[in-house]
Amino acid sequence: MQSMSLDPAQPSAGPAADPVTVPRPETGLSRQSQPVPRTLPSAPERTLGEPRVRNAAITSRMVSVHYGAKRALFDIDLDIGRHEVIALIGPSGCGKSTFLRCLNRMNDTIEGCRVSGEIRIDGQDVHSPELDVVQLRARVGMVFQKPNPFPKSIYDNVAYGPRIHGLVRTKPETDELVEKSLTRAGLFEEVKDRLKAPGTSLSGGQQQRLCIARAIAVQPEVILMDEPCSALDPIATAKVEQLIDDLRKNYTIAIVTHSMQQAARVSQRTAYFHLGRLVEVGTTSQIFRNPEHQLTVDYITGRFG
């Protein structure tokens, strides 16, 4: 694990929640007599930790999502800090991917999906009628679980976005941007002699880095990653994780992952979702050393509540 600060954030005490006496987070070790009772909020309605940050690239307030009659997210307040990697973790169906997809309005494409609440990117409301969703998705890029290069050459995979967004006009400009993007994605050296080869001819890990190059070619502010390494082997995973860390200097990154170790390695903050609620958010160091909520403990230690 990366080096971590020694100062775990303490949760702010909210006046609304009525604290109920519940035992503290436990280990696999049982207490062999009466436990010492402590007060912790037992209901997941109120997020533990600090969901807001000072220098936020993205702010979300009271974000709820319904798929038809089914409610998938409950009043999520969560900021994503600039040049920060935030890891969204939680069991399948907890709403973490749904939340991620709200951030660039990918949920718009799903029939029967309603998003309420407010999401702002650099202060601008993503649901504002003036906002062009194509422009939004250029500002908020996305990398998916399975690498999905276009059925085009490596070069065109990267050049396509900048061309349609009018970021490049001439061939030399395009060449330069393609090289820069591939270099940033840590792929250029491996593919520079076969830029005309199809993107799909690359290995899985290379394809994923190609998708990241494609995402950064349009110069986004934010990159969303939905389990970007789940289809990759450990070496390709390590390369992508290294890349995430390098990209952090220039971008804001939100990553959904099922790998606790990956969340601990790549992120500075971690948010734990459970049944559509944001249960706890804190520094990654605090979440993985000293989580406050029993549900967080149960999940990260491999117990399920």
């Binding site: 280990t27 696999g28 070790l29 007599s33 436990p35 993985f288 117990r303």
Partner: protein
């Protein structure tokens, strides 16, 4: 609340809980052995029972072997489970406690060696009962500290752990008082110098045992609370840090 394997606190991989519990069992067993070592070493010294001191020396190998075994299990759990959160804290705390127990075992062995050296002195050169007077009570207090730290580990009991840190303040003050008292022997009769020095080493060992018991108590507090309370000046400061964390 439930602590049964079927309850919410059971790991999906139940083997993990079993292995963690087995590690704690080993640490507690080692702790009980170390307690016995301290008792026998102190009794061997103040009653000049050579057999007890020799027994302590033999059993020192057992303590060392248990340390190696426990460390091996700690590494094994780390490799297999990559523990996080409270599990990580439990394994780290148990691993560190093992180290402290091993050091206590060493201190007990030093006391046993002093007992053997005293025994080998000619009758006129043996330390007087008056000179050894502090060792009995300090030994009892040291053992009670170790027992308290082991109870804290058994029950994951913060109050018990805090009691250990308070008792250690007492042991430290007993140590300083004994040191002053021993100095008066030297002033009265410089021929006692050998015995006084050897006794000072013994009470220093007992004082160190108290420090190691306090370390274990601090590891237990870290295990329970995730709060590092080491290197604070007094038990009051420890209490204050924990109160502040609660606030």
């Amino acid at each position: 609340m439930t602590n049964t394997p079927q309850g919410r606190n059971a790991h999906t991989v139940r083997q993990f809980d079993n292995e963690l519990e087995a590690l704690r069992g080993l640490v507690l067993k080692m702790g009980n052995l170390v307690c016995q070592q301290i008792r026998d070493a102190v009794e061997g010294l103040i009653t000049d029972k050579i057999a007890l001191a020799k027994m302590v020396q033999r059993r020192e190998d057992w303590v060392d072997a248990m340390e190696v075994e426990a460390d091996d299990r700690v590494v094994d759990l780390m490799v297999k489970r990559q523990p996080v959160g409270p599990d990580l804290r439990a394994i780290l705390s148990l691993g560190k406690s093992v180290r402290d127990l091993e050091r206590m075992g060493d201190e007990a062995e030093h006391v046993a060696r002093a007992a053997l050296e005293n025994h080998e002195r000619s009758s006129g050169m043996k330390p007087s009962a008056e000179l050894l007077r502090d060792i009995g009570p300090m030994g009892e207090l040291a053992v009670s500290l170790v027992e308290g730290s082991l109870r804290a580990l058994t029950r994951l009991d913060e109050a018990e752990a805090l009691a250990v840190t308070r008792q250690d303040d007492q042991l430290d003050s007993n140590f300083r008082a004994a040191l002053r008292r021993l100095a008066t022997f030297l002033m009265e009769d410089s021929r006692t110098v050998g015995n006084v020095i050897s006794t000072i080493f013994v009470i220093k060992s007992l004082e160190r045992i108290g420090d190691h018991a306090t370390n274990i108590a601090e590891h237990v507090i870290y295990l329970i609370r995730g709060k590092d309370v080491r290197h604070l000046r007094s038990s009051e400061e420890v209490q204050k840090v924990l109160n502040d964390a609660d606030a």
